[in-house]
Structure formats: C-alpha cells, structure tokens
Symmetry: C2
Subunit: 421 residues, 2 copies
C-alpha cells in the first residue's frame, strides 16, 4: 500500500488532472480559467469561471451574493459552557469554510491512514459551484433562560430581538431558534450538503444540530441577471425583490450601519421562516381566485393591472363596479404598500416528503430574508401580512428563527472576531 | 381582464419568446436548436439540445436513460376497488407524463379562469431537463392480503416476488411496498418534484401516496459518458455498473425477455431500498479502515490493488503476510465475485434532515436497480452482501419495494396496456 502516500489534492486540481486524462471533462478558455463538467448527453454545464465566491472579505458572502440554486441550512445548540470554546469553534469553522468555498477539502496535505479523514469526501472532485457559507448568532447565544451564558449579554444587539408572536404563527419549537446558524448555498446540492455535514462534524462536543433544512430551488431573484423563479404555488413572487447590484440599496436596507452595535457594522440580520404551503387546498382553488390572492397572473407573472411581469403595479386601478383590481388584501398589495420597508429575500422551496399525520405533502417555502433591522423591516411587514394577506388561508408558518450575521473576516481572523475580541 | 384569454403556452415556447424579448435567455445554434438558460454569474447552463427524452417508445424511459441528477420517487396505494379505474388512472398518467416530459404543462390550451388550473404551474418556463417518468406495478396490485383485487392475480409475473427477508433488514413498512410506483428523474429537481406532485394530484380519489423519496444527487454512473460519482461515505462505488450504451448487456441483464409473462416483454423489474448510512460512526473510522471496507481508495477511487479508478480489481493479490489485499468481505469483492450477477444501478443520495430520535443525520443511499429477474439478480446479491459485507456495520436498509415496470407505449396507448388489455 505504499502508493498511498500521494493522496494530496484539491478539488480543482483533481478536475484539471482528470480533464488532462480525457475523463469526460472539458477545459474551457477565456476569462481566466473556465472549467466545464460534462455528463454526457445529460450535460448540465456549469460555466465555472466564476464558480468560486471568496469567503474572506469585509462582509460575509452569501448575503448579497446572487442567489445560488440550492440550500442546506442548519441551526445549532451550543453544548459547551465556555466562551473560549465557542470562539475556538468559530475559528475552526472559518478555516474549514474558507477551504470548502475554494473547492478544497478540509485539512492540509494527504489524509493520514490511521485517523479519520479530516474531510468526509463526498464532494472531492466537484467544483465549489459558488458555495457560500454564512454564519449567524441567535439571541440565545447572548441570553438563555435569563442567563448570561458566555458573558456576552451586554453585547447583544438591540436589533437582535426575540421575534414577537406573529399573527397566524403555529411554530414548532424543534424547527425554531438556535444559538448559531450556518447557511450553505451552492449551485450543487451535494456541495451544500457536504459543507453543513462537515461543520457539524467539527462541532462535536461543542454544539449539535438543533434543526436543519434543505432547499431544492431558489424562490427569489436577487440579481438583475436572474429571472424571477416560481414558488410551489406556481406563482412568480418577489419580482420586486432588492437586487444586489445596487450597493446603495444594500447599505440602506441590508447592512447594519452606525446605528448598530459596533461589532455588527457590516453585518446583517437573517430571519428564517419555514412556511408550509397547503398545496392540496391551493391546487383545488380556481385560477381566478389564485390570481386574486397574489394580485398577479399565474402564467405571465404580470400584475393584474398589467400585461408583463415587470409592468408597474397600479394599486389604484378599479373594476367598473368600483372594486380594486388588485384586491385590498392581495399579497402583492400588502407587500408593496409601504415602499419604505424592503428586505432582501433569499428563500428556497422545500419538501420533506409526506406529512405522516395528514398524508399531505410537507412542502413550501423556506423563507430567508436579510435586513438592516428586523424591528423596522421583517416584523412590521409580517405583522401586516399575517393579519390580512389572502395567502394566509393556504400557508402556515411552522418554523422561525433570527440570527445576527457578523461582518466578514480576513485570512488569519475568524467570523465573530469582532464579538469575541 | 379580457387580456387573460391568451394564456396559451408551453414551456418551450415561453422560453423562446422570453429569449426573443432579451429576458436573459440565449438561443444557441447548432445541433437542431439549443437553448441555454443563464442565471447571471451563477450560470448553471443547461445545454438543452438533448434536454427532452421521448416518453413514448417500445421501452419505458428512465431505465436505460443515462442517469439524471435528481430524483423524486413515490409509491402509491390504490384506493379504488375497480380495475377499470386503475386502467383509467394509467391512461390519465400516460397523457400527463408525455406532456411533462416534453416540457409542457398538463392540459391543453389556456387555463380556464373558473376552474383549478390543470397544472400546478411551478415548472412553467423551465426546460424538461431530461425528465423521465417511469411507472411500475407492485405485488399488491395483483394480490393483497390473499385477495385478487382486480382480477389480475393470474397475470402476476413469477419474477415479481415478494422480496424475502434479507440479512440485516430493519424495514419500516411506511417506507416500503406500494401498489404502483412513479420514478421521476430530471436534471432539475423542481421539474422532478412537479411531475410527482401533479401525478399524485390526478390520482385523487383513486390512489394516495404511500411514501415518497427525494434524491439530491445521483450515485451511479450508467453511461460511458458519466464520471462515477461519490456516495455520502465519500467513496466511488459502482465503477463497474452496467453502461446503457451496450444494448446486448441491457438485453441480457435489464430487459425482461421471452422467459417473462408476455405482457412484461420489454419491461424491467425495479428494486428500491432506502439504505440509511450511519454517517456519524463512519466519519469516526480511520481512512485505512474505510478503504478496507470498500476495497477501494477514498480519494482516487482505485481498487486497493491498483492506482487508477478503472484499474482491474485483482481479487487474488495478497499482502506479504498472506492475507488478501482486497479483504474477504470487502464490498467490492462481494459485489464482483460472481460476475454473472449484474444489475443496472440507478441510485441517489438522500437526506431527510435530522433523525428526531437519535439527533443523527437521516441520510444515505436510495438504492434503485433495474434487472431482468430479481430472483436471479438482486435477491442473491443482497443475500450475500447482507450476510458478509463489511459495510453492514455502517448501514441499515429501512425501506424496500419491488415493482414490475411494464414496456413502453405509443401515442394513443397507455403504460400498462399490455396488462389491462
């Protein structure tokens, strides 16, 4: 087994060498270096000259990164009592996340024979596929059951509130909350899965997964380059989402500024909601009713007052009988009426198979939104929607969490250094 | 709302018209017509000149189709007592499957306003992404609790046995069995999800979903054009899988021939097994032990007797101390020793989040294999593996099902016509 001592690699190098060996890989030209990974007639080409998103930077990646196709999200319970161990975990996670987002496995050099491999290996040979890993801190990192667990209570940001009871909530505590969160997004679901799995593995003895969620299709468009996708109700929702190409809008609505605790400057607040859709009921509804609920046409995505998706929404237009064309409680109206409230939506469709109790599909929208201050953005928005939105008949919020995502870091530093310093 | 009367479309036409409007779509040239669907810098290009797999044909698609990246599988319980209604459901499903695999929604013409839309709509605008939909019949379609439910008992194929108890089984009945199955595979997970959801919807009143499984990454290579992917243990398994490019191997090992019930000529038998991997234990194992279990190196995928993935497996090679280099009970040895037993593996990695009882990851391999006769292929193979495979320490089979997939059909016919005729 002496030939074993050569198991040194990174995912990108493996691709290149496999390509050189003609093993079904194409090395593209132009734009630096481009790799395309072909799979025969079923070609799903990933044009990957841009397939690595830098992990290090002033801001964390995965917030204003144009939204990737797949999500693996996990919330963790810390089990350690020691603040130094929390910081130490964040250091380990930072190094691992930097490796994985570069398309490299965790660990340096060859895997030793007589130890567990430092990386679980299922993503070896795959490109990073725009993997981003974004970390956040829940309210219970600061205060739990009234206790200042880690001496951080005084540093809890005011904006990191416990989300209040919201109209229509039916929250499952086992799908809610968490001391830490990890959001892994990639255009390859296996790469996102691998990231969370390996971070959870590194956390052993310090933290355990409280809940996790896979998302199999993005439901938002966060870039001017992306089409608006459809949710599982078959509608284009979020046509007017913030687009990451406009830094002034990001500064205004997404990034915590001087009003925030200083350690949160350049961070953002993540709200996650598991929104179960009652698809069986929805699917029985007439097309005209479905369109009334959203205020949009199903096929074209156009507002009911227009013909094309991006036509202006006319909230004042009336039918001849004097009723509003876009109903008083239509989703599009409530989400837009107060144009000062804007959030960066970054949600995903999910399905977790059948609900064993009802026999219905356990599926819907795993809503994720980033914002500068949830007290002024998500909370008032959801208070309004939860009370009045026609959509409420067809959805239930059964999971909920809020996290403060700190700013980014540089090589040698770690995510959370501004809090733990 | 008079402009509504124009909601006539198909998914492909929508793409082309969107392209003409410059809405972020690229109309490619060469090879007939190629569509590429760009999503900004996160470009996941689907080269879709081959993105439609014909539904109609002598054989069902989705068996010897080069394996797509994503799976949505469902097993159904029939609730109707009437054989004519079963045939009627299969007719409806055939028409719907033919539409969806062509990239079209279910239903003809514009969606009427005052009825539920015939298609749930979440895949509108998406290419078919090589969608295949494959139907199968479980043993309980023929005989259930000793009863000949539909007058079909005499036509039950001998090869459609109830799978015997296999060593190490820990089967959950709610993840096993089923009267009918639907295997939807696509390179877009939303397209696969949409297919099963809509077929389940059409079955209302006649059949309900018994269990379902999403697969997020293929674990087999079924084409000479595909690389061998890694399973969630980080290993390349199934390097020597049958490849669909060789029709004589398909005739020999996959398609039911003259030995079968005549209605099954050109059909195949599907065995599905939900194989939970105990990843927390596996991840603690030393690299050398993991490699001993599989008989392959983790990083390169090479057999322990070679240097490259496709090097010949030398089952006779010994260490200087006389022990076999590929251990007596290594997975690769047991799966290969009897080279006459070959199956077409078409499995997927799955994860269903956390196991609420153990707090461990509920993840593993959703094994699917097609074969000519399970009595001579899957059953003896799994009897051997289940008794001796070193891998057994790390896996549990907790779901199991067998289905007879009938031959294909032509426009105007329906899947199952040879049985119900």
């Amino acid at each position: 087994m002496s030939e074993k001592t050569g198991q040194k690699f990174n995912r990108r190098n493996m691709l290149i060498s496999a390509s050189a060996a003609g093993a079904g890989l194409v090395l593209g030209g132009g734009g630096g270096y481009a790799l395309a990974h072909t799979q025969g007639q079923q070609a799903m080409q990933q044009t990957s000259n841009n397939d690595i998103i830098s992990f290090y930077g002033e801001k964390q990646a995965g917030i204003t990164t144009p939204q990737q196709d797949h999500l693996h999200f996990a919330a963790f319970n810390l089990t350690t009592q020691d603040s130094n161990e929390v910081a130490s975990l964040l250091r380990i996670w930072t190094v691992a996340a930097a490796a994985m987002t570069s398309g490299k496995p965790i660990g340096e050099g060859a895997f030793p024979d007589h130890a567990p491999p430092p990386d679980t290996g299922e993503a070896l040979g795959l490109p990073a596929a725009n993997l981003t890993i974004t970390f956040g801190f829940g309210p219970t990192l600061f205060t739990k059951d009234g206790k200042d667990r880690y001496g951080l209570a005084a540093r809890r940001p005011e904006a990191l509130v416990d989300l209040p009871s919201l109209p229509g909530d039916a929250l499952d505590p086992t799908r809610s909350g968490g001391d830490l969160c990890v959001q892994a997004c990639s255009d390859n679901p296996l790469v996102a899965f691998h990231a969370v799995r390996n971070l959870a593995r590194q956390a052993r003895g310090l933290a355990t997964i409280r809940w996790s969620q896979l998302g199999f299709n993005r439901t938002a468009s966060t870039s001017t380059q992306q089409e608006t996708p459809r949710n599982l109700m078959g509608f284009k929702d979020g046509t007017n989402n913030l687009k990451v190409e406009d830094p002034s809008l990001m500064d205004q609505h997404v990034w915590a500024g001087n009003e925030a605790a200083s350690w949160m400057h350049g961070g953002s607040y993540l709200v996650a909601r598991r929104i179960r859709m009652h698809l069986e009921s929805w699917d029985r509804d007439f097309l005209a009713d479905q369109e009334k609920v959203f205020g949009r046409r199903k096929v074209s995505g156009a507002p009911l007052t227009g013909k094309q998706e991006f036509d202006a929404v006319d909230l004042t237009a009336k039918h001849p009988d004097g009723t509003s064309i876009i109903a008083t409680n239509a989703h599009i109206r409530l989400a837009r009426e107060d144009d000062n409230i804007r959030i960066l939506r970054r949600g995903y469709s999910f399905t977790d198979g059948m609900d064993k109790v009802t026999g219905e599909l356990d599926a819907g929208l795993f809503f994720i939104a980033f914002q500068r201050d949830p007290r002024k953005q998500f909370i008032p928005l959801q208070q309004k929607l939860g009370q009045r939105d026609l959509l409420n008949e067809y959805i239930t919020h059964n999971g909920s969490a809020i996290f403060a995502c700190p700013p980014g870091t540089q090589p040698g530093g770690f995510i959370g250094e501004t809090l733990f310093a």
